[in-house]
Symmetry: D2
Subunit: 333 residues, 4 copies
């Protein structure tokens, strides 16, 4: 951190600010210039809040230099994090594809889709049992029944399961059935939930909030990791912008940013990002080309009758073709 004092701040005022900073256990280097004095803070400023240094009358600006996350920071953990799920490794150059329906609707449906995506080469089965819906009148998911159906589909195909957990109260039950706990975009800053899954021994898939910065995404990962769970998979699913043609705006540069700033794997969800099935394959190719560690794709055996997100779901035959094309592309890279 660098603290820029106002030009009118006198020695006494400077001394006061310096003392407060030293009181936080940090060292200060003072540079007096012709116009203003600059204080350089030395030490771990990770837990220093601007409020603690704030001085209306004498401080002009407080500039952060150090990144506020540590466990998620590549500087302190240069090696890529690899996450093992039932023999499959996420990260480390592998391309992990998580596929399945938006909602689990019946045992037949989830087993059929699971078989189809497994056959096409997917590595993880996705599906929603607890569904975060904008309207209280929309289908809210099958809950525990859905988890049981998904488990059956997992047993039939051998695919591990990723599914969303929406509430601290549901963590135990979801943990029992799922191989990866998904935190949805709307809950990225639900810190109580992040702490709870941080105490789980199951890996967590953390989706970026609709208007979360890259730094905030990593701070949410830090919440999970600071409770002990180091197995966090990040997921970009589109951010909210002024553009309405697509459901959200997929920010692929986040992959490059994350690879620079963090050691955690990052996957892309082109289905939610675009809201249009026709865009899923091209954006999947772009995701692979930019270096994402994987994809999360909605596949439904009968999109026209899906209980949610039909317009962005791929039919199994389209998914087959997508898998062929991205596998080829991933090898070519």
């Amino acid at each position: 951190m660098v603290v820029v004092m106002k030009s009118k701040a006198n020695d006494e005022a400077i001394e006061k600010v310096v003392s407060r900073i030293e009181g936080l256990g940090l060292k200060v280097q003072v540079t007096k210039g012709e116009h203003q004095t600059i204080l350089g803070l030395i030490g771990d400023t990770k837990s220093v809040d601007e409020s603690m240094i704030y001085d209306e009358d004498n401080v002009e600006k407080i500039l952060k230099i150090q990144e506020p996350y540590k466990l998620a920071n590549r500087d302190f953990h240069p090696e890529d994090t690899l996450i093992e799920i039932k023999g499959h490794t996420i990260g480390g150059g592998n391309l992990t594809v998580m596929a399945g329906p938006c909602s689990i609707e019946s045992e037949e449906q989830i087993i059929e889709v699971a078989k189809r995506v497994k056959e096409a080469g997917a590595n993880v089965l996705r599906g929603g049992a607890f569904k975060p819906r904008t309207s209280p009148y929309s289908f809210q998911g099958l809950g525990l029944d859905g988890l049981k159906m998904m488990k059956k589909a997992s047993e039939v195909t051998g695919l591990p399961i990723v599914t969303e957990v929406m509430s601290t109260e549901d963590v135990e039950i979801v943990e029992e059935y799922a191989d990866i706990l998904q935190i949805g975009a709307r809950n990225m800053s639900n810190f109580s939930l992040l702490k709870k899954v941080g105490r789980s021994n199951k890996p967590v898939l953390l989706k970026r909030g609709m208007s979360a910065t890259v730094q905030e995404l990593l701070m949410s990962a830090e919440y999970i990791m600071s409770e002990g769970n180091k197995n966090v998979i990040l997921c970009e699913r589109g951010i909210r912008t002024f553009e309405t043609y697509t459901r959200n705006t997929l920010d692929l540069s986040v992959v490059t940013a994350i690879k620079e700033l963090s050691h955690l794997p990052i996957i892309i969800d082109p289905s939610h990002a675009t809201g249009k099935w026709k865009m899923v394959e091209p954006m999947s190719k772009a995701s692979v080309a930019v270096g994402a560690d994987g994809l999360m794709i909605e596949v439904h055996n009968d999109p026209q009758n899906a209980l949610c997100d039909g317009p962005q779901s791929l039919k199994p035959e389209k998914f087959d073709s997508l898998m062929k094309n991205i596998t080829k592309l991933h090898k070519a890279m």
Copy 2:
């Protein structure tokens, strides 16, 4: 809802879509034009999801006409909702001021601030016991101890209490101490939490999410109301935009929008919206002028040593002056 068929959709295709809509319990009026056929849906489309009508090959567009919320909708409830808290009425032309520190830091602090804001004319004491912080390393609030301190401040001053609840697991304990349950911006779409406070008999202050539309805010209110709790107070606290000069961008037109669309009271939080104490008074005046039902303002006896949000907190003497000015303005309106 209006469904616009593609120009190439033939009679059979149209019939198929019509049947699906009728299967949802709705009537359909079909208009065949020279170029395309338009279907008008008649009946309650509140719980109709676009996915249910979606037909890749034959449907061009699905246009919503009816608002998707009902309990929060002024059309079905033309009278303003009034909320009574310990003899004070929120809504109905009153100006309700909720004031207090960002965090409860000690019994002395909260009692001192409570006395000062009470004296200045505030109607409700605000203060955080459970704090949603971006960093896991920042001060997380005093929790239950904070609630107890706040209760004491309430007893001393007679001011009712509003404080944030961050987790379904904490609802009971916060309910025990607070007069109004606050849902923070980050939890506006934490639907599990919304349902839980929807079963409380305490009024709920629902803050607009950082990138939530007016409609989404009302849908979150609908979640609470659909569980039985009709006492919802909406709160605008700034939205996230590209502008970085202020912490957020305060969207005051939302007051006019809410007054048109809903019967629920709406208050403004200029402290979080701007992040700068100097802007709090001018934006408070603007809020009163535009017709807001109240304000939520951060006041701290010693902002320079506040554990959070010092730069946006008013000193008690500044708050005195603000109260005088807005009271005068409110009377003049």
Copy 3:
């Protein structure tokens, strides 16, 4: 400016960066810390581009402290700028109301509206002759004919005229008829046009671009002022956000920001900001309450038949009532 060197930057690297900065005519104060070296730049860094200091291998961050505008900066010009137009002063506590139709449609129309808004108390007549329309197929304005009609309305009523100039080629002709040259939001960063009106002796009304920051708005003012024209009136007309309920999101905190950063007057256009006539009066009141120097309001004698922006135009009788209310409010403040 403060340059933070990378921790690995050695003395030679630091010396190289220092020399480059000194080569730009600035002094440098070097602070060597345990971890990194910080360079403080002393002197006028207004024309220093980050690119000039950029050093991939050795520079970690370049932090700006000084604001990049000078002529528009209150620090160098503490007194409010007052602008005289035909005996009326803009700024200095006055409330200036500019009113009139979106487009000039006929001599009768503009004269009728001019009479009505004059009577209601408006100070300036607004009206579009050259119209920036999203579609090339929409009505593009009456051009020179429109200017002539507006001139007649000005002669009849004595109201000075503000009208938009869209192209460098039209500056001379618009200057001949208008009292204030308006630069529209879409042209806020049309630097050729800014320079051209900067050489005019007519005041300029500069609208904030749809996604321009406060700093960028002031930099555009600086473009005009640096060519010699010091009479710039800023105008907030709503920014583009994710919210679609209103046409744009009116950012009223910009008034407080501008009053702090600059000496230039700032007015608000609630008509374009909201796109809904019902919101014009409440947002006008809020603008007055927050301390804006004036308003720009669309008034049309027959909104239902207006060639553009009917839904956001006030009828003359609504404008009468608005003027009464805001005048009362302005006096009360």
Copy 4:
């Protein structure tokens, strides 16, 4: 267009709206439902403004169905537009790479860079002579001298030239030297300039505005095309969002959108989109994978001493490697 009447609108009111629409040369199909009447407009509604139909008391909503652009619309021009520049074809499956420095700084510099990018496989030389800079105190480009230097570099290498034109007054002079006229993001809605280049016989590279929707981008193309110039190349260069880690947010889904909606070629500028040279190659790969028709990349022989945009410029050797990788990828697709 579909007009939804308010439920209270009586026959007379409906008749009035119908007459107004028929007065615009359109046919109307009226559907009276139990609750509300819906009017379907038949005919070319491209030049119909909502204002013309607007009726405060009786119209509830006006819904657009037809896209407002015609010449740029794939529906009316199913074949891809191919643009020939000195023997090179833009569009039709080719990958066109435009490369060169942000600013032309000297004859030596531009010739050296031109040789290097030509050798690496670039098809067009880019370089700025007239520079749109946020600050009036920043380097504004060499103007005509820059154009002459660029021309020489073109003669030496055989590469065609693309360069920005910022003002209607400069169109003739830029046309004389350039092979492609570039309209910058800040001028995307400078309609006077669009019309002027629409009368040129040189192809136009139209950059998407910082907060322009896909539809607005196509409407700006329509402005150019409606004046006669059909050779428009679209360019995505990042949009403005809340994210500050990158300079802008590159919206790659726009490629898929444009390919669906329009027949015009679209290229990507990853340099301006990200602002960081390290991101240029990964985002270039993603652009090729998603199906873009080309790339526009900043290359500088000495980025550390570049007069602008050094941090986002590639050194020639990095550009060599990028060209090899994307060429391989383009073939593999």
